[in-house]
């Protein structure tokens, strides 16, 4: 990281309302902090840093923090509205609700989340094409965990 880059970053910060910038790349850790009053609380509840450390244990497969990089700008991430077990098909031998590349309509079921013996169908809210399926069949999911990436149509 050269001086010019850092200078540029400092300038960018000065013109923004960003209070602190932290950058970690291979071998480099940069932190710039502006002089401002007390820090505001993070919005929207979602703070960075994946705190879910499960090490091969059931719950919490994909880390929500990874969400950002999974979806391109404009894409839709469908997240789990409850804690439970994710199923791609209505029954063990039935075909999956959707596959990558499928077009889905609003209200069309995408998967089932089983919670406390109840099967909850999770439906698409918008029209779109399935770009990614992020959780394997029969895996446990936590609240807010990304399940699908849809490309809006």
């Amino acid at each position: 990281m050269d001086l010019e880059t850092i200078k540029a970053l400092v300038e960018v910060l000065g013109q923004s309302d960003v209070e602190e910038l932290e950058l970690q790349t291979a071998g480099t850790h940069l932190r710039i902090r502006r002089a401002v009053g007390p820090r505001p609380a993070p919005v929207n509840g979602l703070v960075a840093e994946p705190s879910v450390e499960t090490g091969g244990t059931p719950a919490a497969g994909a880390q929500p923090a990874a969400e950002e990089s999974l979806a391109q700008p404009g894409e839709i991430v469908v997240t789990a509205p409850m804690v439970g077990t994710f199923y791609r098909a209505p029954a063990p031998d039935a075909p999956p609700y959707v596959e990558v590349g499928d077009t889905v309509e609003p209200g069309q079921p995408l998967c089932i989340i089983e919670a406390m013996k109840l099967m909850n169908e999770i439906e698409a809210e918008q029209r779109g094409r399935v770009r990614k399926i992020l959780v394997a069949n029969a895996q446990p999911v936590e609240y807010g965990q990304p399940l699908f990436v849809l490309e809006p149509l």
Partner: protein
Amino acid sequence: MEFRKVLVANRGEIAVRIIRALHQMNIEAVAIYSEADRDALHVRLADQAVCVGPGPSAQSYLNIPNIISAALLTGVDAIHPGYGYLSERADFAEICESHGIVFIGPPPAAIQQMGDKAQAREFMRQAGVPVLPGSDGPVTSEAQALAVAKEIGYPVLIKASAGGGGRGMRAARTPDELQRLYHQARREAEAAFGSGEVYLERLIERPRHVEIQVLADQHGTAIHLGERECSLQRRHQKVVEEAPSPAVSPELRARMGEAALRGVRACGYVNAGTVEFLLDEEGNFYFLEMNTRIQVEHPVTEEVTGIDLVREQIRIAQGEPLGYDQADVVIRGHAIEVRLNAEDPARNFMPSPGVITRFHLPGGPGVRVDTAVQQGSVISPFYDSMFAKLIVRDADRAGAVARMRAALDELEIEGVATNVELLRLIMSDPHFEAGRLSTRFIEERILDRLAGEGGRGHG
């Protein structure tokens, strides 16, 4: 049954407290968290963590389906509910049981029994526990209220059967007041608890709030661990707690303990619990209510008895016998706890959420801190404003007070307004020093001084 893995259905300092106890017992801990708590200490300390909903408690820490799902998916043997949230929900305890998960707490029936205040009072009275003269059940009309009040004598207190936290509670000093406030109290109770049922009790003007900690195992052994003095309250919220109480002699302790245990045995209670009493200036005590869970202020009892109450809760839930009896419980020294709240005394103690930009905690001998907060932590507007408990102990009360003063002086908290100045004023008050306490102490002796000194939260 030895637990291998336990889910902690709570957040904040008590979740951290429980996780530490589990780890010390070699039991894996599963945390649950809301989206607002993703970075919280209890999540970091746990072996596994499951997000159960968005920030608001109703959708996360009170979300029974998601919590039970998390418990089933992680394969836990038991759930510890902490305090607040689901800890006194008999239905939750039942759901746990029906899913084969041990609820670390009393049987659902005991929770139910003690959850209805009027019913609990009547139950205790029949078990031979002293209760305040009162209506022996709900009062359903103004006329009945007036008749009861005439019999027990004024002043009287109108209380909501489903109540708690002072809501639906009114003091009446004359029949006129009673007529007016009876309806007010009913309306408030209806709004707060969905039930307008109220009952009457004789009002004690400057009572102490003294509570007895009990432990009961599944094998019929029930003991008490002495009392906690919790008189220092603001709007029915405890602020400072201590053990032992400066007003309780060994003889009174034995009598109060025995009374508490009569109630405990009568309702088939198991696990840790607290029987709250009002204590008047003549040393008469009256059953107030029973809390069927661990209390915020449990550390002061731990400090003077040397018994780890959360560990005992877990051991009892595993089916272990206590392994000691009443004679083995020795009170040694004196302990005081203060609750550190992110609230602004200058704005009528409004919660003051924000980021803790500086946090220096006192340490050294006789100082204990229970907190889930570190420098840089966010105090979320979604949850309780209490962010830490500072506990000191020393050989005697004077030593403990001196230690608390020094500890409060050393504390540095920046980024949020706190009640530290209020606590400092309490610790330097001569009546406090002399142990002359009542539930009206803070309103009568401290609040004006706080305003007088600018009413600002310090540090």
